[in-house]
Symmetry: C2
Subunit: 477 residues, 2 copies
């Protein structure tokens, strides 16, 4: 018999029809009630074994984690909280699970422990919910852009260019590590490496993305990016996924508008398409909150927070306005900030961003027009000669979720900035070419996908929202 | 004024309304007719400059490649082949393009030359069409799986596991190349590397994908994969994108069925959503064909080939049947094959696959049940003890486009095979765990995304269907 997914069965009108479900045992009570989950939904199917209908030998093998095929009648359930149940006629054990050895016992495990068995943690309610939401968000990203006529570009992962300077890089090589070829100075001779040069893993697809924006108009990337930084935090990964739209003919205002519409679309999509998983995650987050001191608890639940973001405009203000607010803020005056805000030009710290978002405005904030000295070379220089048309979108609990800018489209200005910063002009020939031949005003931004998932799922450690996290000391699985 | 994309303008009813378009000049004839393209479509907008309405100084700057903003009335076009044109009232040069230096002259350039200016080639008809089709195919991949309840999983790119043995790997490291730390034997000490071990770029997400299939049911990956092989062919890249669905409770028959439905869906999606680009590519391919000797030309045009694949069942046959056909084939008897087919057990070469697909069956072929000795360790062993439940989908002109199998779900059999092949059982602990705890029959396959794009666009070199191709000696841009 064709197996039907549990998500579908739970929505089927129970009329005693014979159906087959397959999945993994979550619990087995009273030698009679099997809670079966197949990953299609957070909800389990209750399969009821009639007394004496299944051999004792088989009954013993129905343990937590075992994989079963059950066939029987789909009937209305007398139990609370479920519309249907399956009255078992045939039961087959597809895969045993030794109850003593199976690491996932039917109890609450710590997230730390589950990270060590990342190959099995997706069988828990929390992680299956997170990964289903993650899927929905990835699909929504593609749908949002496709519906608006953006083209998806796969920018290269291995790159010879180190120009962006967004962070430390991983080297990619096929040279013999023990005995690499050397040049006359005794240095490793990368001319003999696979690509005939030194190559690294990309930190951003933006520069290549721009080449396509200035040909196809609106494009976006969605791919893995890498940082070889030794950060062991709850917000950083060595390998993470980033979405980078890049739009010809957009100025910084259009860019901010798109960023807001994009994030609101994603959050709304989650609310509409992941309601069961979000309800579970909402409850989970509420329980986590209970363990915090009263004054650190969120005022809003996860779902309320999502609704709030979906329905309210983000606050836009310039860096200069933000500095004024921060300078005059209570935590600054009372020296509660770790980094006191004293003068225009300083980079904002996480504590400042959180103050603006969580205390002052109590909503997402888009900061724009940053001092040029704290931003990247490619950002468009404003007429004040002090700032660039950069923007950061700041979210409650997350901090920076999007960073972007209008790009400098004027050849002379860009070259001058490249040289001021001692960047390798020669390596950037193709990027500079874009400003020589049919340049156009254009803008773009980057969204860290895992930060989005943190926000939408209410999880607090970025290692828990990606299948197999990579961080210093860890590349297991 | 808000800019409207040319794709939309060309579908708008011309009623003299004032509109703004922005884009790049393809040609400028008689100081009057501008062909403007903005990448949203293969078609250009004709913008007509009224005599004396634009300053001579500005007219001179309307050169191929320049970026313009034009505002004017949208009116019915008297010219053939276009419904509308724009009568220019205002014209602004957004970005000049020095006619003498711009590498893309309004003439046919060789694909080889265009590869050297990959940052500009996307402004040609051919490459913009290819990249729009590529986008459509990527979106169709996500839509197909999302509609069927599959979940998208981002499997890791950097991996410590080298177990699949699908090919040579790139090493990922942050150690000082000139002076790496050494262990007591004088070997490089990877324990001091970023991840505390030697790591590589993934060759496949399958093994990690299986861990999610046995939790969420149906999943797929779509990400970059890597081969450090020194192949300079028209079919291989060092960095390419792969789609790998993995399904719990699927046997090899279900797997073949899904592969066929998937490919047919993608081809149909292209036919329905990329008709203008495909018409252009169809014409382009026909012109290419003209340069070939008569007997090497395709019997079907590109579009006819796509329709044929969309509408006809693929031929399924076992490896054993294929060997019989090949042994008795004319090219084998007449020793025309470079590798003669003499006995059961040999691996099939590209010439054999093409014979089956293009000469014998004249349709896509799914070969299954291959000798176990030429296939990977994880494939499910058949009862004959000689073959495994592997399958390859073979396409005309492309050869293998999909490779897959039912996976060995039986712990003892799998461990035995791992040891027969001297694979590192210890490193595979997590993969073997799947067979210890709730194992289930499951299957999956991999589709090389660029091979699909070759087939759908009729391009012949895989370096021309990805934004920035990576191959030995080349990591430019």
């Amino acid at each position: 018999m064709k197996r039907i997914k549990i998500k579908e069965l739970l929505l089927t009108k129970p009329e005693g029809q014979t159906v087959t479900a397959k999945g993994w045992v979550r619990t087995f009570r009273n030698n009679q009630f099997i809670s079966l989950n197949d990953g299609s939904t957070i909800n389990n199917l209750q399969a009821v074994v009639e007394l004496n209908s299944v051999a004792d030998e088989t009954l013993k093998r129905i343990t937590t984690g075992a994989c079963l095929s059950v066939t029987g009648e789909l009937i209305p359930s007398p139990a609370k909280g479920q519309a249907v149940e399956l009255k078992v006629k045939e039961l087959e054990i597809l895969g045993d699970s030794d109850a003593e050895k199976f690491p996932l016992q039917p109890k609450k495990h710590s997230l730390e422990f589950l990270r060590e068995i990342a190959h099995l943690r997706s069988r828990t309610n929390t992680f299956s919910a997170v990964m289903r939401v993650r899927h929905a968000m990835a699909f929504a990203v593609h749908k949002f852009f496709n519906d608006r006529g953006f083209f998806y570009i796969h920018t290269p992962i291995i790159t010879g260019s180190d120009a962006e300077g967004a962070g430390a890089m991983f080297r990619v090589t096929t040279l013999d590590p023990n005995n690499p070829p050397r040049d006359e100075q005794g240095k490793v001779n990368f001319k003999e490496d696979f690509f005939g040069r030194e190559t690294n893993l990309t930190v951003s697809g933006q520069l290549e993305g721009e080449t396509y924006a200035l040909a196809l108009g609106d494009i976006y990337t969605f791919g893995p990016t890498f940082r070889a930084e030794n950060s062991n935090t709850t917000r950083h990964l060595a390998e993470f996924w980033m979405i980078e739209p890049e739009m010809a003919f957009y100025d910084i205002g259009d860019n901010m508008q798109l960023a807001q519409e994009f994030l609101q679309y994603l959050v709304r999509y989650a609310l509409e398409n992941c309601s069961e998983d979000l309800e579970f995650l909402n409850k989970r987050a509420q329980e986590e909150e209970q363990s915090k001191p009263q004054d650190q608890r969120s005022e809003l639940s996860l779902i309320d927070r999502l609704k709030f973001v979906a329905d309210n405009d983000f606050q836009r203000l310039s860096y200069t306005e933000a500095i004024d607010i921060l300078k005059n803020s209570n935590p600054n005056k009372k020296k509660k900030f770790q980094y006191l805000v004293e003068e225009w030009g300083v980079d904002l710290q996480s504590e400042h961003e959180r103050y603006l978002v969580e205390k002052h405005f109590k909503k997402p904030v888009i900061l724009y027009n940053y001092p040029k000295d704290i931003k990247a070379f490619y950002m468009r220089q404003n007429d004040d000669d002090k700032t660039v048309a950069a923007m950061d979108v700041l979210f409650p609990g997350i901090g920076e979720i999007i960073g972007g800018s209008q790009r400098e489209e004027r050849y002379e200005r860009l070259v001058k900035r490249v040289n001021e910063l001692s960047l390798p002009e020669k390596e950037l020939w193709w990027y500079l070419d874009l400003r020589k031949f049919g340049s156009a005003p254009h803008s773009g931004f980057g969204l860290g996908f895992e930060r989005l998932i943190l926000f939408v799922t209410g999880m607090t450690n970025i290692r828990d929202v990606i299948a197999y996290p990579r961080f210093p000391g860890n590349a297991e699985f």
